[in-house]
Symmetry: C2
């Protein structure tokens, strides 16, 4: 069961995320910070490291989620709450969904991000399905495409996630 | 400019992705594989490592994208094509968008994944906006939420991405 943070807690965690974001700019990273708060109160920070790590997925929220999972040695962050300096983009929302994060709070929003030159808004539109021309996704009929799932069903040692 | 792969090439890369997925099951990972093909023909593989690495974001496509970016020392994979053993979930699509991947080809589809017990279909619905109760996302008014973007605009050494 997740226990939603009280409003003063939410503001405190968001202020930390914003502070991380400001500090990250001087460190040469993008202007984004995030904090994952576990049900037991442990916190894990993340900052945007896309350009420093040459990792297009190293958004602050993803970094915080990856760190929380690694340090708790559990890919399932059930009941955790994610605090982000800015509205999470689809990458970060999907990462939080897969991590079973229970709720997300953010400070600045997608329009603020767009005004600062970030593409989140375009990517939201992509998921809205209005226009996929930005990156076409095509199904290819392939004999044997079911083999991985057959192997998975047959493998007694599988760890579900 | 991305140069779309010819159909025989697409089948060959998808067969490789499917083979990686099958092999990954025996290695204790999820039944997913992916290949990033760069415009110059270099290829970078990925397999699902969620449970082995305790990383909820370590989907095959994300792993392949991260590897391609790290090994080419460039967070921008403009013109690359992503081949996936199964239809990429929203996490993987968003990672590909941010990486500026030009096109995606996949073999098995989201219904195959759902039949095998994976939540991709539910997450697609989340992005369709029909039901956000799975993970509520809330804006919190916070004084100073614009500070990171102000710092970004003022920082002469920023690297845009």
């Amino acid at each position: 069961m997740s226990s939603p943070a009280s409003q003063p807690d939410a503001a405190r965690h968001l202020e930390r995320a914003v502070g991380l974001a400001v500090a990250n700019v001087a460190d040469g990273g993008g202007p984004f910070g995030a904090v994952v708060v576990m049900p037991d109160g442990r916190t894990f920070d993340g900052v945007n490291r896309v350009t420093r790590d040459n990792d297009p997925t190293a958004h602050a929220e993803v970094v915080a989620i990856r760190r929380a999972a690694a340090e708790t040695a559990d890919f399932d962050l059930h009941g955790a709450v994610l605090y982000a300096s800015c509205e999470p983009c689809p990458l970060c929302l999907a990462a939080a969904l897969w991590a079973r994060v229970g709720a997300v709070h953010f400070a600045a929003d997608r329009r603020d991000a767009a005004a600062a030159g970030f593409d989140d808004a375009v990517f939201y539109e992509y998921f809205d399905g209005a226009d996929r021309s930005l990156m076409p996704v095509a199904h290819v009929d392939l004999a044997g495409s079911g083999r991985p799932f057959e192997a998975w069903a047959a493998f007694a040692g599988r760890i579900e996630y």
